[in-house]
Symmetry: C2
Subunit: 294 residues, 2 copies
């Protein structure tokens, strides 16, 4: 199975699980359930759940036991997109070519749909099996820390506060770590925890996730400047127009490319403690996510 | 100790616990932590945490073991107030005489402060002790169900959708049950669960909470019409001005008063399974909350 086939097959399983775990859109009140499902099934690539399941497999687990964690991280990710798109935040009308949640359902319902998805994400964690090393309390703490006011939400705060002003590279790194790496790393860690990962496995996967997450975001910054709308599949120069700092703007394009390459190598190297067979898929995912023309 | 003294002493303990469980307002980014603490310490009466702890005590538990649940329900309640006050929801500038969160910190930060408090509420549940009957998974499921899209958030959706249109009494009851009873009942149930309540105790306390919650909201509706600003301590006729349906408007003031009295009696009666000594405080709380001049 190629890595693309693996991603497609896993994303399909995740979609089915999300469909069965979320309330049906006929549940009362119908509006909120339609709004929740609209954004959940709006074409996300399911990168976080795929990483979650691949990490579980690398630690001897499987998709079935990791699935509630995979769905929880995707559900949580979707709430952040809905709230980030609001007029009082990034004020986006389109996401992946479709009208954003508040454009379809109104701002009030969009706020509530985000709230409801955040709530569902924690309910999903309660379905994860406990093992000798990790309990539901550990899963809840893991997700809450990664996505709370010090990490994911903190990153969005720094992003809001930084608009239109010159950031330092440390500030930009804190924004990227909060907005991208934190949840991506939590996805990987939750998958590993559901498979009763040994502590050195968990530490290695944490380093893998942090390096992968930051590299992914730096490459996004580079592509926002160097790419054409045709190859990127979305409008370019958006960060600059929004008055947002980017990696290449702060350190120069060559330095940004070098840092992305260094992080990519570091993400791979972190997996050295795993036997060849167990790390193959995570290496392929790293390559798939980071090997873009930047 | 009078019931007022009990409430004051318990609320003080809850305030101390909230202060120690929430990130300090010096944590980075400072803005979000200041915004979270601004609304948490804005003068709430701590009714839900007091009910939570009193329910734990009625089942043989104590304030110390129930405290993470008490703080979780108050933290969750605070997030709902911040989001309900937003311009895209009820658009309120003042709450308890103070500027609402978004008037002080801006809408973007207010949305994120609500999100962060919702996240913290689940993290707090992970601190609750497990017992022979209830686990952290049970606590998480309990809070997520009561406050998710079918109950608390669902009530807010019905409320938003009902503005300016004639509601049926069933619709208004669904709004009150979602917006008020659901979390109030969850507070009581979580307290009881932390004390390893027997299933008949939990059932009795559920009935107590549901009756108390609906009675409380009907009385609020009545006072909004019949009271003076001086006795109520806030502006009156607010619901009517906002085009919101109220109980007395739908069924008449006499019928509304009768239903409030019936629910009050039912709340007390539900406690009959508890020995005299164990139910005294919950009866006094019922009396304190519902014995207003309506």
């Amino acid at each position: 199975m190629t890595i693309r086939e693996y991603i497609a097959a896993t994303a399909e399983q995740v979609d089915q699980a999300l469909d069965s775990m979320l309330p049906p859109d006929t549940a009362s009140p119908a509006t909120i359930h339609q709004a929740m499902r609209y954004s959940i099934f709006a074409g996300g690539k399911r990168i976080r759940p795929v990483l979650c399941i691949a990490a579980a497999e690398a630690c001897g687990g499987n998709a079935a036991t990791a699935m509630p964690a995979a769905c929880a991280v995707e559900t949580l990710h979707t709430y952040t997109l809905i709230h980030d798109d609001l007029p009082c935040m990034d004020n986006d009308d389109l996401r992946r070519g479709k009208p954003t949640n508040h454009k379809v359902f109104g701002e009030g319902i969009a706020v509530l749909a985000g709230d409801a998805l955040l709530t569902e994400a924690f309910a999903m964690l309660a379905r994860l099996p406990e093992n000798a090393s990790y309990s539901v309390a550990d899963y809840v703490r893991e997700l809450a820390e990664a996505t709370g006011s010090r990490q994911l939400i903190g990153g969005q705060v720094l992003d809001l506060e930084g608009e239109g002003r010159q950031l330092t590279i440390e500030e930009l790194r804190a924004i990227h770590n909060g907005k991208t790496s934190a949840l991506l790393t939590a996805a990987i860690r939750l998958g590993a925890m559901s498979a009763a990962a040994a502590s050195e496995q968990l530490a290695a996967l944490t380093a893998y996730g942090q390096n992968l997450g930051l590299a992914f975001q730096i490459i996004d910054d580079i592509l926002d400047i160097t790419s054409t709308p045709e190859t990127l599949g979305k409008s370019i120069g958006k960060d600059e127009q929004a008055g947002k700092a980017t990696y290449p703007a702060l350190v120069g394009i060559d330095h940004a490319r070098q840092e992305a390459r260094d992080l990519t190598v570091a993400a791979c190297k972190a997996l050295d403690i795993f036997p060849e067979q167990q790390r193959t898929r995570l290496l392929a995912l790293n390559d798939y996510l980071l090997n873009r023309n930047y």
